[in-house]
């Protein structure tokens, strides 16, 4: 294995550990912090009393 190959391998493994680890930590934190509680509620946040769920809000003008 040449030094270049080694450097490539080290970088790849290093970044997998670094970024994978960061992602795993972030996911753990998100669960503990309750970021996923009441999750589907977020999908409803764009509707309001004037444009409630169940009402279309756009049509061809004049039709």
């Amino acid at each position: 294995m040449s030094p270049t190959d080694f450097a490539v391998l080290a970088t790849v493994v290093g970044s997998i550990v670094l970024f994978g680890g960061a992602a795993a930590l972030a996911l753990g934190w998100a669960f503990r912090d309750g970021q996923f509680d009441n999750f589907e509620q977020g999908a409803r946040s764009i509707f309001g009393s004037d444009e409630p769920i169940g009402e279309p809000t756009d049509a061809f003008p004049g039709d």
Partner: protein
């Protein structure tokens, strides 16, 4: 996911991974590349462009040549298709676009490095080794003067058509038939009327010139003979006018002649 900070940090991490991997890492891997000299006394390759060739890079850039011409020769192993039960590869080299594949060292001094994105036209990495200066000028002036099938734009605007003074044409004047030079950028033909007038005025001279090169004499009064005379006359050079390259055309051609990336052997470019 109600925290802006989570999105921010996530966007930062994901993006910086590609920034590190695709940008900074190759930057670091390639930054110490040096020109190659076989033995300590030899001239190193590549060398930075200078003078006209360097100015030619600007002309090449400004006119977007990159959008039809790549500058990279791909290896003998590149490509993957079958014909007659045989796998064939390495079209670039077989087309004569370079003697070997190009490698990162070939581009050490390129600013910008114009590897290319499309091959509407042939590859130019090694074009300097393929054609000489007069061909380059004729082709740049009007590509169809050289290849009838070409769709390359004419760069006649980089040339000046001027009256010959003192009866002597400039050394740099293009040696192209009048069909290409009378109306720069286009292929010119006289109307029937004009041709009659020209024949009436200079018919004898044209016939004599034609006779000098032709195997058989033509009858100037028959339609076939007149047509042949016209074709002949169109390929002769204009007498009173000449087309000469401007500084920009000279620079561009100097750059094209300096493009010799697939020539000098490099130890890492075996194929």
């Amino acid at each position: 996911m109600d925290r802006g900070m989570v999105i921010f940090v996530g966007a930062l991490l994901t993006f910086s991974s590609s920034w590190l991997g695709l940008v900074l890492y190759p930057y670091w891997q390639l930054q110490n590349e040096q020109p190659y000299a076989k033995s300590p006394g030899d001239d190193p390759y590549p060398r930075p462009l200078a003078g006209q060739a360097l100015a030619g890079v600007r002309v090449y850039q400004a006119n977007g040549c990159l959008y039809c011409h790549s500058q990279q020769v791909r290896s003998e192993k590149f490509g993957n298709w079958w014909e007659d039960g045989q796998m064939k590869t390495g079209a670039d080299i077989k087309r004569g676009w370079g003697a070997r594949r190009t490698v990162s060292r070939d581009y050490l001094y390129d600013r910008p490095t114009m590897l290319g994105t499309m091959r509407t036209g042939p590859d130019l990495a090694n074009v300097g080794a393929r054609y000489a200066e007069p061909w380059q000028h004729n082709h740049t002036f009007n590509p169809r003067a050289v290849n009838s099938w070409s769709v390359m734009p004419s760069f006649a605007f980089l040339y000046a058509r001027e009256k010959v003074v003192g009866g002597q044409k400039a050394a740099k004047a293009l040696k192209l038939g009048r069909e290409w030079t009378v109306d720069p950028g286009y292929r010119w033909r006289p109307t029937d009327r004009q041709w009659e007038a020209i024949l009436a005025a200079r018919g004898t001279a044209i016939r004599q010139a034609h006779l000098a090169g032709a195997v058989a004499r033509v009858d100037p009064d028959s339609p076939a003979g007149r047509a042949e005379l016209l074709e002949f006359w169109l390929t002769t050079e204009e007498e009173d006018y000449q087309v000469v390259p401007t500084t920009a055309a000279d620079a561009l051609v100097a750059y094209l002649l300096a493009l010799r990336k697939g020539e000098t052997p490099l130890p890492e470019a075996k194929e």
